[in-house]
Amino acid sequence: MTTMTNWLLDDSPSSRLQASLGHSYRVTRMLMRNPLAVVGALILLVLILAAIFAPWIAPHSPLGQNLGQRLLPPSAAHWMGTDELGRDIFSRVIYGARITLLIVAMVAVISAPLGLLIGAISGYFGGWVDKAMMGVTDVFLSMPKLILALAFVAALGPGIENAIIAIAITSWPAYARIARAETLTFRNSEFISAMRLLGASHTRIITGHVLPLCTSSMIVRVTLDMAGIILTAAGLGFLGLGAQPPLPEWGAMISRGRAFILDQWWVATMPGFAIIIVSLGFCFLGDGLRDVLDPKQGGKS
């Protein structure tokens, strides 16, 4: 074990692999020192495991109805009770992890690279390119996220794919802003000039040298935004514009449970807990990542 650690922390690594592994090891170790970040990471791990192994974890089918057992309170047979159609809420929450994870991952995959690229291009070239691109960004930024997402879903039609697209469209401008600000701080620095002098093309400089410097603040921001994305998705689901019944989406489940909230509190509360816990997990992890990855704020706590 010690030889392994020594190898990872070697001050003068002897190969590319050792250098990059050592770097990841240092980041992970710093992250591990932050208890909240560990909690966040564990929550996410549980979420991911629940999504992968949902069929084995869930004791009942998430869709199968059993009208004889409707609105049962939490018990040994139904850990989180049953809903108005007699479906096991625990199983639905577990399967709901898949939908939540899908939404979060797809939004991140679509909007983060898009924002990153637009911001980096805008900041790198400056001038009228910057003005035009940031003008478009400002138009998107000027509208509240949920309202804009609502408008898009209303136009595209309800459904989980459209919800993902709508949320992605509303969330890239913030990333573009960050990437642009980050790019502006070093666009005139000498290491970029040196690359120009070596004959590197603009594309190469942006992808190989500008973007890597923006990614760490981007990872932090995306992780912190995940909570907001989950809430927006749940909000859309609650309003009936996201995942459609009978999909076990958490926001839609709350919406259904609203009708019974005074007498059968668990129907709305259980998916609500799931949303809160997963959002918190992303926030904790994002905070921890910021301390480790963001050179401007990190390392001082």
């Binding site: 003068s12 590319r16 290491f191 002098l197 070596l198 004959g199 410097l213």
Partner: protein, 249 residues
């Protein structure tokens, strides 16, 4: 053939003319210094030659090839630049190995591992520095990496923008000795910007003295020993720097 020819070179930033009517001819293998106080336009000339200050008129040619307005790949293999600040000229997230392989990748050159190892040895860096990041290196080591990066494409002309002014005095000497050795070994031509006259007398054959964007005098570096300058501005600069830089008093 001359390594660098500048003819009637005017350079402006926006509407301000920073450099006016500069004529310089640097022979191949020569080490030529541009001297002057801050703001006299000496670094701007280097930037214009390198293609980083595109707003110029006149004529610039390097190794017989006239220079266009933008950065081009062929130029990169003939002429490279070392920047003043070794803390700003290296990408903070790239290891020494990546920094040195990058020029080879851009130009599609093979045999990268061997070339990187060879170049590290040439600039006097131990192999154990190869996979380190800039923040794990000292200022002098960083400047060695920057010099190595500039030399990776085997250019014949090197533009040096005050390569030692950001370094400690003891490290300055190491870097200057390294530059001198590299020039001897690889037959390089140096065009060097500095405000340090002792550096000129140590490194250079000739010097051009600049004041307010114009060249006031071109003199051999030996003039630093006997003070045989003709222009009054040069004489005052020479006097202000304490006369003969090699005289210890």
């Amino acid at each position: 053939m001359s390594a660098i020819i500048l003819k009637d070179l005017d350079i402006s930033y926006g509407h301000t003319k920073v450099v006016e009517g500069v004529n310089i001819e640097v022979a191949e293998g020569e080490s030529f210094a541009l001297v002057g106080e801050s703001g006299s336009g000496k670094s701007t000339i280097l930037k214009a030659i390198a293609g980083l200050a595109p707003d110029w008129s006149g004529e610039i040619s390097v190794l017989g090839q006239p220079r266009g307005r933008s950065v081009d790949q062929g130029f990169a293999t003939r002429c490279q630049m070392v920047f003043q600040d070794p803390y700003g000229s290296l990408h903070p997230r790239k290891s020494v190995d990546t920094v040195l392989s990058e020029p080879l990748k851009i130009h599609g050159l093979g045999n990268r591992d061997a070339r990187v190892i060879e170049m590290l040895a040439a600039v006097g860096l131990d192999q154990r520095f190869r996979f380190r990041y800039p923040h794990q290196l000292s200022g002098g080591q960083r400047q060695r990496v920057a010099i190595a990066r500039a030399l990776m494409l085997e250019p014949k002309v090197m533009l040096l923008d005050e390569p030692t002014s950001a370094l400690d005095v003891s490290v300055q000497a190491e870097i200057l000795n390294l530059l001198k050795k590299l020039r001897r070994e690889q037959g390089l031509t140096y065009l060097m910007v500095t405000h340090n006259l002792p550096v000129v007398s140590f490194m250079c054959d000739r010097m051009a003295v600049m004041n307010k964007g114009r060249i006031v005098e071109i003199a051999p570096a030996t003039a630093l020993h006997d003070g045989s300058f003709t222009d009054p501005y040069t004489q005052s600069l020479y006097a202000a720097s304490g006369g003969n830089p090699d005289r210890k008093d």
